[in-house]
């Protein structure tokens, strides 16, 4: 469980972006979380409410967009979405693939701020 340190990272980056945009306070943070990012959405949300107290993010919301794993299948010559994280085979042709195109994201896409 390292969601709390992840949340500290979010707060730091959001603070910088808020200052750069000369905003007053943060209303929402939009986060993209891949299935292979190693963080759990519920734990993030729980840590977020605690860690944002007395920061410009206090009372703001964290909006998490969960992203499935996408691999590139050489056999099918295209990217395919995986239904879970238990196997890294193309769901169409069953060929294993280590070529991951999506799923490791832990990215702040945008913030909504009051100006």
């Amino acid at each position: 469980m390292h969601e709390l340190s992840v949340v500290h990272g979010i707060i730091e980056t959001v603070r910088e972006s808020l200052e750069a945009a000369q905003g007053k306070k943060v209303i929402a943070t939009y986060l993209r979380v891949g299935a292979l990012s190693g963080v759990v959405k519920d734990a993030l949300l729980f840590s977020f409410d605690l860690a944002t107290q007395d920061t410009p993010l206090e009372g703001s919301s964290l909006v998490v967009e969960e992203l499935p794993i996408v691999i590139f299948c050489k056999e099918c010559d295209r990217t395919v979405e995986l239904p879970g994280v238990q196997t890294f085979r193309c769901p169409v042709c069953q060929t294993p693939s280590a070529d991951i195109r999506q799923g490791k994201e832990l990215e702040i896409r945008s913030i909504e701020i009051e100006v």
Binding site: G9, I27, G38, V85, F88, L106, E114
Partner: protein, 226 residues
């Protein structure tokens, strides 16, 4: 009454970007110094320290210059154990944190001449979850799995096994007693990380150690380090 004006600002930044940037910088430093860095990850009790004890001693005997950093929440017991090999060893105490970060590696390397090393081993905190997301600037990440842990561990912790470049099965001397199902274990690892290299060994008895040491020397050579 004032009307609240809001706007959306694009950020598009990785949450761990400070760690990632530092790790990238350190990777370049390691490469130009000619030191091959490995990040060893596993559950607590898989045998990382035991494997490292033997590895440091053997590599030194074979003429390589080696050092190790070892991460734990508390105590410097592991560093003391590893220092018996004669190699430079430093303990990183994380004060409760569940993983190592690039900045901890950098601060603990101060004073060491990296260009006088061939291998640097980083023994991560025993944890199959959190260390997965933290790049330490390593050339190779090795995930360890012992025969006592259960063959389905790679399926339970896919993020870690997927992030590894190689896997080591430890405690092979206990395989029979634990009714270790080799075929299932290897299949599960490859289900999560197709085409990964897997080395099976017993650090205690020495079986498989030659393959492991050759793997290390070969990987280092292939990385183009002098």
């Amino acid at each position: 009454m004032a009307v609240m004006t809001t706007r959306v600002v694009e950020v598009r930044k990785n949450v761990l970007n400070k760690n990632d940037e530092l790790a990238r910088e350190m990777r370049k430093t390691f490469e130009s110094a000619g030191v091959f860095v490995l990040n060893l990850v596993s559950s607590p009790g898989t045998g990382k320290t035991m494997l490292l004890e033997k590895t440091l001693a053997e590599l030194r005997r074979r003429g390589s210059r080696v050092a190790a950093l070892v991460g734990d929440l508390e105590t410097d017991n592991d560093a003391k154990r590893l220092a018996q090999s004669g190699a430079p060893v430093r303990q990183i105490k994380t004060d409760g944190r569940c993983h190592l970060e690039a900045t901890m590696i950098r601060s603990h390397l101060e004073g060491w001449a990296l260009d006088e090393l061939d291998f640097l081993f980083v023994e991560n905190v025993g944890n199959l979850v959190c260390p997965a997301g933290y790049d330490l600037g390593e050339a190779v990440r090795v995930a360890l799995l012992s025969v006592t842990e259960g063959e389905d561990k790679p399926l339970k912790y896919p993020t870690m096994f997927n992030s590894a470049d190689a896997a080591v099965i430890t405690k092979m001397d206990l395989a029979e007693a634990c009714e270790y199902d080799r075929e299932t274990a290897l299949r599960n690892i490859r289900e999560i990380r197709p085409s990964i290299e897997i080395i099976e060994l017993s650090a205690k008895l020495g079986s498989g150690m030659d393959a492991w040491l050759s793997f290390l020397e070969d990987k280092r050579k292939r990385a183009g380090l002098r």
